[in-house]
Subunit: 138 residues, 3 copies
């Protein structure tokens, strides 16, 4: 069985981390599937999905790490093509990746106690975002 | 239902990015599955799969980022084992990862408009490559 | 069909790489599913899963790369919250990601000859770990 759900939300951009876990839990509850996998996927090339402990310290640390690994104020060839100044956003998104797949049983995702699924908005401006939850199982 | 397809192609190595999207679309069209997920996976430890906007600027930026994060001309212990000089290739591949899972409905992958699935060949020589498309759904 | 298995093991922490491949093969053998995908997932926010050639050189190179990208002896905001000194572990785990999805057919994972699925323990102390193998297919 396959069920497709999605979550729309507003972001501020600039590395904002959004906790997707409550919406993913609800998506699984609403579905008729009790065991399987849920794939969270962002249709877009300037956002990423991973897991992290969603606490105030890491809300600062993760964007700082991304700034260190892929600095914003560097010249990227992408910006010479499009002049939208978000070459760094694309590179950060390619590094983190747009997808995650989480197993669940008895309607519960098998996450650790301090582990949340997060969306990272790497774009350089506020965005209306959509994340797909593809639920597969039985 | 499960359907396995694969795509074989030639690369030049050295960070070349190959757009897998057209082949993945065809794989889904050829299959009898209309909704589900497709996992693209490279059987090999010197290639990676992610998504990116496939445009000329990022075709330069992504390899340059990988060179900055994991420089080629550094001494890696791997090279002392095998003397094939591609320690950096293995490290880049481990960082990006060999897999991606993309949801689809009505035979269409739910990618963003400017988002392509790409294979990154991190090896230091041309390669004959194969990528597996495992299609699951109903 | 869905089958859930898991693997418990002891680590030393500090970047230790554990080869999950033999246990994943056994999990698939034990299951009644012959073709599909297996998702390996770590419930926890200080470990990562990827693929790499499991050989002595890369067992040194991968931890060294992680130390270069996300140094241990830097001040992270996470450590000011929890004072457990493992901010770097969380950041490394978010970068590598907690999941991987591998296709299999005829009970065999479609890995490359020199490609192993590995768990990376980024925590700063020995841990009792569990990795989930969610097997889906027919």
């Amino acid at each position: 069985m396959v069920e497709t759900q999605s979550y729309r939300f507003q972001t501020k951009g600039d590395g904002e981390m959004v906790d997707l876990t409550p919406e993913m839990k609800m998506a699984i509850s609403r579905s008729s599937i009790s065991s399987g996998i849920v794939t969270a996927f962002v249709p877009g090339s300037t956002g990423g999905i991973t897991t992290v402990e969603y606490e105030p310290g890491l809300l600062k640390d993760v964007p700082e790490l991304m700034e260190k690994l892929v600095p914003r104020d560097q010249t990227y060839a992408h910006d010479e093509t499009w002049h939208d100044g978000n070459g760094f956003s694309h590179l950060r998104a390619a590094l983190i990746g747009p997808d995650i797949t989480v197993p669940f049983t008895n309607n519960r995702m098998m996450l650790g106690t301090w582990q949340q699924v997060v969306f990272l908005d790497f774009d350089n401006r506020p965005r209306e975002r959509e994340v797909i939850f593809q639920i597969m199982g039985e």
